[in-house]
């Protein structure tokens, strides 16, 4: 399904990595590890198609990316909160779905927020929430966006113990339903199985 081959990336004059390749099938996940500055985030951005690679290619269902099908099947959550401070969690979730061209009714959006432990916070502006709660608003998108490939860059940062456990469960569920995931993190992840790629 996802085939990555020969990826290379350099920042300025420094070669970050070269000849990175892996493949993922339904139900598999990859844990990308490496020291600070090893290029984990760069690899994620190359993978999703935000930056061009020096060499190599990413294929999704046999087609070279970026293609429409890939973007439809992909959820990428990066370092940024990617939520609007002036909107409520509910508005954030529903508007980002609308931008993606996905119909999301209020009930489903609310259910996703409650699953992420934001009951009672759905109508407050995100500005007044804590960093961890903001992160949860973003993570709610994993539930509302029907995607096959999850690319999560340091998604476990700023989360408390309960949220780390919850995210682990979400990923395990996703994989059980035939999804795929590429995760970066420094700590061991509470997700069974998976392969490791060290940069």
């Amino acid at each position: 399904m996802l085939i990555v081959s020969g990826l290379a990336c350099s920042r300025g004059e420094r070669r970050l990595f070269a000849d990175v390749g892996f493949s993922l099938d339904a139900g598999e996940w990859l844990h990308v590890q490496g020291e600070n500055g090893a290029g984990k985030t760069s690899l994620m951005r190359l993978l999703v198609g935000l930056s061009p690679a020096d060499a190599g290619e990413v294929r999704w269902r046999g087609e070279p990316t970026p293609c429409l099908e890939f973007r439809r099947d992909l959820v990428y959550l990066g370092h940024h909160a990617a939520v609007k401070e002036d909107l409520t969690p509910l508005e954030n979730l529903r508007l980002s779905a609308a931008l993606d061209g996905i119909a999301l009714d209020e009930r489903d959006a609310l259910a996703a927020l409650i699953r992420l432990g934001l009951r009672g916070r759905e109508d407050l502006p995100v500005r007044v929430l804590s960093a961890g709660q903001k992160r949860r608003v973003l993570l709610a998108r994993l539930l509302t966006r029907p995607a096959v490939l999850w690319v999560l860059d340091e998604a476990f940062n700023a989360l408390d113990v309960a949220a780390v456990k919850l995210l682990g469960e979400l990923i395990a569920e996703h994989l059980a339903h035939g999804g795929m995931a590429v995760l970066t993190s420094h700590q061991p992840l509470p997700v069974p199985g998976g392969r490791t790629l060290v940069l």
Partner: protein, 221 residues
């Protein structure tokens, strides 16, 4: 198409929660146009002669004032990345953002211009032409400005650079926009001015979102 409208709605909602940012540009427009009579003197004949130029230059600068914020907030909090990776075409979302920018920063100027024109002793028909010219011209300013805003996104000294990039490109809009009002005051036909403004608007509506999208993808790399 629904994604386009959703973008417009989202940006309007965001602006509604932060009213001050929109009002700044409008106040700027009012203050700048009111400064000219104070600097030049209250001579009605002279004021009437320079009114179209002053109102247009002030509109240009007021639009410029709102441009750096067009993409900066979405770039800063990572929303722009999500837009670039969205299944909806980025060009469509960008077009929605440009329309929202015009509704927030351009349309208020169009609506205010006739009131400010009264300060310069313009008669009713001249005010009508001024409003019509601004109605055609301000979306053009938003469209061209969006390219500059995308090119200078996250760049050192972006605001000043943006002015340097965008203002020369605004000159045709200024010439035909202010020219329409001047021609009308001089008793000439204004159809040519207005149709040229409209033609430039159509041209920009086709190409500017595309160029802006390309520039945004570069800024995200």
């Amino acid at each position: 198409m629904s994604a386009f409208l959703a973008t417009v709605r989202r940006d309007l909602l965001l602006a509604l929660r932060r009213k001050s940012e929109v009002l700044t540009a409008v106040f700027f427009f009012v203050i700048v146009t009111s400064l000219f009579p104070l600097g030049i003197g209250p001579e009605p004949v002279l004021l009437k002669k320079i009114a179209p130029g002053i109102l247009w230059v002030a509109a240009l600068l007021a639009t410029l004032l709102g441009l750096p914020r067009l993409f900066a907030a979405d770039h800063g909090d990572g929303t722009l990345e999500q837009m670039a990776l969205s299944p909806s075409p980025l060009g469509l979302l960008v077009a929605g953002k440009i329309l929202a920018h015009w509704l927030l920063c351009g349309l208020p100027l169009v609506l205010l211009a006739p009131v400010l024109g009264l300060q310069f002793d313009l008669d009713a028909s001249a005010l009508g032409i001024l409003t019509l010219a601004l109605l055609l011209g301000t979306p053009l300013l938003s469209l061209i400005g969006a390219i500059g805003a995308a090119l200078t996104l996250g760049v050192r000294g972006g605001g000043v650079l943006l002015a340097l990039l965008v203002l020369p490109l605004y000159i045709p809009a200024l010439i035909f926009g202010a020219g329409a009002v001047e021609a009308h005051i001089a008793g000439l036909e204004v159809g040519g001015h207005l149709s040229l403004l409209a033609a430039m608007l159509v041209l920009a509506a086709f190409f500017a979102p595309w160029a802006t999208t390309a520039a945004l993808r570069i800024a995200l790399e």
